[in-house]
């Protein structure tokens, strides 16, 4: 592919398809995640990264090598990676004495860091430690956030948005009712975030809606919030901007009243009411050659008689 001023012109159909898949689109596809390790990692961090990778397959890449960078100080290396692998979400795990068992959840906009949250793992139970049957990867999970802090505190609001972005799967128009198996439950209390992952068993109840029984499977985390790096309000608003083409088109000249009747509006040109034809009156029809003069006729009649 020849490059000229940053514009790459594809020479083959395959490269053209590749570029099109990476170009910005009106309706975007699912976001990819890159999971990477820092300069030093502990056993807990590596197992935790692997577990999250298995939760997020196939929309994730797990890098095996260690990357000696500090995302909070210098994010250029992360941005470079995200550009190369076309991933807009990332998870960076590291371990040092000052910040043990550290997870950095982050997301990008236009390959530049938008938000980053540093969460420390206090307690971690991995997938392999809980011996139950698992469900196939790629199931869309149900997400539940508990705790009023998720709606009051600004940091937590952004964290909630990031966690939704991270863990929701691809956007689907319909979902198979029997396939709703995975539930991710996030609870906040006193600066701690508890993440639990359950398998949902649909039991028979008397009516159509089933009764739920939960079975704990999957990784369970006890996070504590450490540092954050939030995007400025302008950048955040810019990232949310939707293209105009996605807005539903309003139908003009149609209105509804309280009772549900729909009214339409018809615009017409100005009518000359004098030329308006109402009913046919044969006597008043204009005949060829004759001048209808209503004043003269009776006079004529009088004279004659």
């Amino acid at each position: 592919m020849t490059q000229l001023d940053g514009i790459v012109k594809p020479k083959t159909k395959r490269s053209k398809r590749f570029l099109e898949s990476r170009a910005p689109k009106l309706i975007e596809d699912v976001k990819n995640t890159m999971i990477m390790k820092g300069g030093n990692t502990s056993q807990i961090v590596t197992t935790a990264l692997k577990d999250i990778y298995s939760l997020k397959k196939p929309n994730a890449v797990l890098y095996k090598k260690k990357n000696i960078t500090r995302p909070f100080e210098d994010s250029t290396s992360l941005e470079f990676f995200s550009k190369k692998s076309d991933c807009s979400l990332f998870l960076f795990g590291s371990h040092n004495k000052k910040r043990p068992n550290n997870f950095i959840f982050g997301r990008m906009f236009d390959f530049h860091v938008l938000d980053m949250f540093e969460l420390g793992i206090e307690k971690f139970i991995s997938l392999s430690q809980i011996k139950t049957s698992k469900f196939p990867e790629g199931t869309k999970p149900m997400l539940i956030f508990a705790g009023e802090i998720f709606d009051t505190d600004n940091d937590y609001k952004r964290l909630k948005s990031l966690l939704i972005d991270f863990f929701r799967g691809p956007t689907v128009p319909a979902v198979r009712l029997a396939g709703l198996e995975h539930v991710l439950h996030f609870t906040t209390l006193e600066g701690k975030i508890y993440m639990r992952s359950y398998r949902c068993l649909l039991k028979k109840s008397g009516c159509r809606t089933p009764r739920i029984e939960l079975e704990e499977i999957g990784p369970s985390f006890d996070f504590v919030m450490r540092r954050t790096h939030l995007a400025s309000d302008d950048l955040y608003k810019l990232a949310h901007r939707q293209p105009k083409a996605l807005k539903p088109k309003k139908k003009k000249n149609i209105s509804h009243d309280v009772f549900g009747t729909s009214f339409g509006r018809v615009h017409m040109q100005k009518q000359d009411l004098s030329k308006l034809r109402t009913r046919k009156m044969k006597g008043l029809r204009k005949r060829k050659g004759e001048v209808v003069d209503e004043d003269q006729e009776p006079k004529v009649a009088k004279v004659e008689s």
Binding site: I7, L26, T76, F111, L114, S161, L189, L202, D234
Partner: protein
């Protein structure tokens, strides 16, 4: 199918009508059964949850008691809380319209209500190409063409364009030499050359459309190779090539009969210091006359119009800057990212050059 009554009715049991009493009993029993069934799926909460069914998301804003989260009972409490919340979410999902798709019952999800940031900025609409502009102007619609065309010579259906296309000019094995053509001319080569020129022209137009879309500057008239170039275009190309040296063409040799380029002198002319005294005197007197006269040199309306235009432009720029102030962060970082690219390359080249320079220094 049993009917569910919203509230218990109080029936007045008439002593004479035994059937009425038994009906009342039946209804009460039915009510009880329904309530029991619903008990299994109903959950009591202080505040209702907020649902975003499009995302399979539920938010619980109820208060969580701190004592419930003590170490030993924590997991059980969380599990019970999760079960309740999941039950409510499932109740919501089961209210959605369902349809059957290939023996599987599927619920149609509504639009997502949570707004999440995009991955990349929305795509900018591409400017129409030269042909698209012309077609819009003339009202030409795109006609859907078939993929295959009947090839008479090969007696089969062939592609309209591409590999082994129908009616391919260059693939004729016999070409009659027309009467007006030179007998020594190679007709096959002529056809091949014509095709190559058409391909090159198409490629040029495609690149020009891309350049127009990306607002990239292209070389001007006459500087791109063409089949037939006019005398002016050739002259311009020659002069541009001549001045594209380090000393701006001052030491370039000229051909014996080549004329110096016209219109290449200074764009502004100044009078010599000691020249025609009379004309200088006249000029100065005229200047004094204009300065002394009362008529305003300034055209008021023109000045006012220019001022208004300036103000409009400033306002527009300020508005753009305010919008760019929000975009400025993105713009800045984008600039930074782009700036790093060439700088990095320059740095590497500089480092490589430095290394090479170091070695002879050692000796």
């Amino acid at each position: 199918m049993l009917v569910f009554f919203p509230a218990p009715h109080v029936f007045h049991c008439e002593p004479t009508n035994m059937a009425a009493c038994s009906v009342e009993e039946l209804l009460a029993k039915a009510e009880q059964e329904e309530a029991e069934k619903l008990k299994s799926i109903s959950v009591q909460k202080e505040l209702d949850l907020e649902f975003d069914v499009g995302n399979l998301l539920a938010c619980d804003k109820n208060r969580i008691e701190t004592r419930d989260l003590r170490e030993k009972k924590r997991n059980d409490f969380l599990r019970a809380l999760a079960r309740d919340n999941t039950q409510l979410l499932i109740n919501e999902i089961w209210k959605l319209p369902t349809e059957r798709v290939e023996e599987v019952i599927v619920a149609k999800l509504p639009e997502q209500t949570t707004r999440l940031p995009r991955e990349k900025p929305p795509p900018k609409p591409k400017p129409p190409t030269k042909w698209e502009q012309f077609a819009k102007l003339k009202g030409i619609q795109k006609k859907k063409k078939t993929n295959l065309v009947w090839d008479e010579t090969a007696k089969e259906w062939r592609r309209r364009w591409g590999y082994k296309r129908a009616n391919d000019d260059t693939k004729d094995w016999l070409i009659e030499v027309p009467e007006t053509a030179d007998p020594n001319e190679d007709q096959f080569a002529k056809r091949n050359k014509a095709k190559k020129e058409r391909v090159a022209k198409n490629e040029l137009n495609r690149l020009r459309n891309i350049a127009r879309a990306h607002k990239v500057k292209t070389p001007g008239e006459g500087l791109l190779p063409k089949a037939q170039q006019s005398k002016d275009e050739l002259a311009k190309a020659v002069s541009v090539a001549k001045t594209s040296t380090a000393s701006v063409g001052r030491f370039q040799d000229r051909l014996p009969k080549e004329k110096p380029p016209k219109n290449s002198g200074k764009k502004r002319k100044f009078e010599p210091l000691i020249g025609d005294f009379n004309s200088e005197k006249q000029k100065q007197l005229e200047l004094l006359k204009i300065m002394g006269s009362k008529t305003p040199k300034l055209d008021i309306t023109k000045a006012v119009n220019t001022q208004m235009r300036e103000e409009d432009r400033e306002e527009a720029a300020a508005r753009r800057r305010k919008g760019a102030g929000g975009k400025g962060r993105k713009g800045n970082t984008a600039g930074r990212g782009k700036g790093k690219g060439p700088k990095g390359k320059g740095g590497k080249a500089g480092g490589g050059g430095g290394k090479r320079r170091g070695k002879p220094g050692k000796h």
